[in-house]
């Protein structure tokens, strides 16, 4: 049980900046997700916390102790790796037991603790098997069991689900959520999958190119993105972003005119979410020809060209339109987000 603090942590390789000036306090028992596209520095950040990577600058504090100069083994952490990192020469039982063995936990406790940990991830039947004889999902559960067997202060998970197929990912995700609820250990979880981030996190850190873009609860990040990067990254589909100009509270762009907005005049980027807008009978803010129509099952996705971008709207599932047909979309001012067109920072809306 510990609080983690990152104070101005940076990682540079020569001129290349991996992580730039990362500042964050992770509360005790919090489940924090680092989210971002590949190469954004999220894994590097986690590896610096683990001690597998040295921070070029800044301090890392775990449970009130500066750990910069400590080896990974002395930081009281456990880590789950993307490609499992299981020891191929040991069977499942010995894999889970390994941390207890090298840390000289009294022999008498081993069996009990290994069995408890393996029961938590439902691996009891496979204890005698070698990792090569397990499926991907089972291997990842062995890695989880190996992490929880020692009851460390901090869990680090590096894209643990990305090597699993879609169906298994959902069930393992649920299992991780349940485990973290049960164990209540401070956890840092790295992923590029926003659905994992939304479902698991207490708080999400969105990163891009080594820089933190936004820190907040999943709802915060979804409802009030701090800039166009977050807006364009979170959500499926991501937020629609249109380039245009704002004059006297009226946003004007190719095929679109939205009134009733607040903000200073000049070029802006306007965003709204596909599920907030609606397809109307006419008199809407966006009037354009249908570019494409996709049936999703629970809804119909209509895409049109407006404001120099493709704009998507979710209509109810029986809605049908022909490609090329002229339609009207209502985008009331209260669902709109405004961003500075140059810096991308949020300036208003909602």
């Amino acid at each position: 049980m510990a609080e983690i603090q990152l104070r101005g942590v940076s990682k540079r390789w020569g001129n290349f900046v991996g992580v730039d000036n990362f500042d964050l306090t992770i509360a005790d028992r919090e489940f924090l997700v680092l989210l971002g596209p590949s190469g954004c520095g999220k894994t590097t950040t986690m590896r610096m916390v683990a001690g597998l990577e040295e921070a070029t600058e800044g301090e890392i504090v775990i449970g009130g102790k500066v750990v910069n100069d400590l080896d990974p083994k002395d930081r009281d952490i456990a880590m789950v790796f993307q490609s499992y990192g299981l020891y191929p020469n040991m069977n499942v039982y010995d894999n889970i037991r390994f941390p207890l063995k090298v840390r000289k936990v009294p022999e008498g406790e081993h069996d009990d603790r290994v069995r408890r940990a393996s029961a938590m991830v439902e691996l009891d039947e496979f204890l005698h098997r070698k990792p090569a004889e397990l499926s991907g999902g089972q291997r990842q559960r062995v890695a989880l069991a190996r992490a929880i067997v020692r009851q460390p202060q901090v869990f680090l998970m590096d894209e643990p689900l990305s090597n699993l197929d879609a169906k298994l990912r959902v069930s393992t995700r649920a299992q991780i959520k349940n485990l973290s609820h049960e164990l209540k250990v401070t956890t840092i979880y790295v992923t590029h999958d926003q659905i994992e981030a939304m479902t698991l996190a207490d708080r999400v850190v969105v990163m891009s190119q080594g820089v933190v873009q936004q820190v907040g609860t999943p709802t915060d990040i979804y409802d009030r993105p701090a800039n166009t990067f977050v807006a364009g990254f979170i959500g499926s589909p991501a937020m629609n972003l249109m380039e245009g100009t704002l004059q006297g509270g009226v946003f004007t762009a190719n095929n679109a005119q939205i009134g009733g907005l607040q903000g200073s005049d000049g070029p802006v980027t306007l965003g709204f979410r596909a599920e907030d807008a609606a397809v109307g009978e006419g008199g809407g803010e966006i009037n354009a020809k249908v570019y494409t129509m996709e049936l999703l099952g629970d809804a119909t996705m209509i895409t049109v060209r407006a404001g120099g971008a493709l704009v998507s709207v979710k209509a109810h599932k029986e809605y049908r339109a022909e490609i090329g047909q002229e339609i009207s979309i209502s985008v009331p001012a209260q669902i709109c987000h405004l961003f500075d067109s140059r810096t991308g920072a949020r300036t208003g809306g909602m």
Partner: protein, 385 residues
């Protein structure tokens, strides 16, 4: 299993490729087969103009050394039985009786016991029994193939070839031990390091590997001969002359071999995902413990394959050992060459052949014992988690 239609080959092609393979095997194996046959014959038979005489050895038979049909059948049956035992019964016994975690020791003891048992049965118990049987069976018991072990006796007992064997053993053991110890540590370090220095070390190693062996020998030889004088200021009166010492040869062979072992082991280590070390270090290991407890157990095929190559280099080396060792410390390969440098008689030549056959036997044994590791080592990458 039925071969899919698309992969089925026409009869002629299958016949052709099989015939080619058979012919190739025959050509490749013929020299070894031929010297093995020669080594058991008297010189007259061994150098006979008619190849059939070499195989059946009438002269050898006339001297009363020969095998009857019954001998041959009994010998083959024994060999077959021994092979069956080694494959079926030995692994099971080792698995049952060796203490957990020490299966290597179990294997060593098991194979030693098996080897001694085989020699005792095959060479001590079987011959007298067969003598009696041959005497009773008449024509079937009459010798058909001439065969004599006299040259082996001459080589190993009279010519003291066993001394050369011991010397070879010392040199190869030294070379393999040093180059594997240094090679695994260096290979691991270089595989995990991303620095440019590591890259340059590897390039330098490659250059040293590319040097002709004679360059190293020419460089070391004068130093070794004069080493007593050169070392006197440091070691005093007891300063050794390194020339002729197995230890000095070990040093030279290691320096020839080390770059190669480092390169080879490095590529094996690179096939082991770095996540494995990292997982171990997070789980509570120091760097060295991670290497010892997690990486090395996965590395055995690589270590054994590399070790085999080092062994072969030291075992087969002629240039370094012949130039740097004096007569009493001679290893086997230069010793065999020595047979040809005297006023060579045909007997000497057959003895040289017998010695040559004897030095291939350990190689066969080694490859047979480690074949599984060698195959997985040579095909590499068999260590994914």
């Amino acid at each position: 299993m039925v071969t899919p239609k698309a992969l089925r080959q026409p009869m002629s092609l299958r016949f052709g490729s099989a015939a080619f393979l058979a012919a190739w095997c025959f050509i490749a194996a013929f020299p070894i087969f031929w010297i093995a046959v020669m080594s058991f014959k008297t010189p007259v038979d061994a150098f006979a103009a008619n190849p059939l005489d070499v195989v059946f050895g009438p002269e050898t038979r006339a001297r009363g050394n020969g095998l009857s049909v019954i001998d041959i059948l009994a010998g083959l049956a024994m060999l077959f039985l021994a092979a069956r035992l080694a494959m079926r019964w030995l692994p099971r016994m080792v698995a049952r009786y060796s203490p957990p975690g020490l299966s290597v020791v179990g294997w060593i003891i098991g194979s030693l016991a098996f080897g001694i048992g085989f020699i005792v049965v095959f060479f001590v118990i079987l011959p007298p029994i067969l003598d009696v049987v041959n005497g009773m069976t008449g024509p079937l018991g009459a010798p058909v193939i001439g065969l004599t072990a006299e040259h082996y006796e001459a080589v190993w007992v009279e010519n003291d070839f066993w001394r050369n064997f011991v010397n070879s053993l010392i040199v190869t053991t030294g070379v393999v031990t040093v180059s594997l110890t240094v090679g695994t540590l260096a290979g691991y370090g270089l595989a995990r390091s991303g620095s440019t220095l590591a890259f340059w070390i590897l390039i330098v190693a490659l250059i040293f590997r590319a040097l002709p062996h004679s360059v190293l020998v020419a460089g070391y030889l004068p130093v070794f001969i004069n080493s007593a004088e050169m070392l006197r200021p440091i070691l005093g009166e007891n300063a050794p002359t390194l020339y002729g010492q197995p230890l000095a040869v070990i040093a030279v062979l290691v320096s020839i071999n080390q770059p190669f072992t480092i390169w080879m082991l490095r590529s094996f280590f690179q096939n082991i995902p770095a996540e494995l070390d990292e997982a171990a270090r997070v789980d509570g290991c120091t760097h060295f413990q991670a290497f010892r407890w997690v990486i090395m157990p996965v590395m055995w095929p690589g270590v054994i394959t590399t070790g085999l190559f080092s062994f072969l280099l030291a075992y087969n080396d002629f240039l370094v050992t012949s130039l740097l060792l004096d007569a009493q410390n001679q290893t086997m390969v230069p010793a065999i060459a020595g047979y040809f440098n005297r006023e060579t008689t045909t007997t000497d030549q057959v003895e040289a052949v017998a010695a040559a056959v004897s030095i291939t036997a350990p190689l066969f044994l080694l490859v047979m014992v480690f074949q599984r590791q060698i195959v997985s080592g040579l095909t590499a990458g068999a260590v994914k988690g």
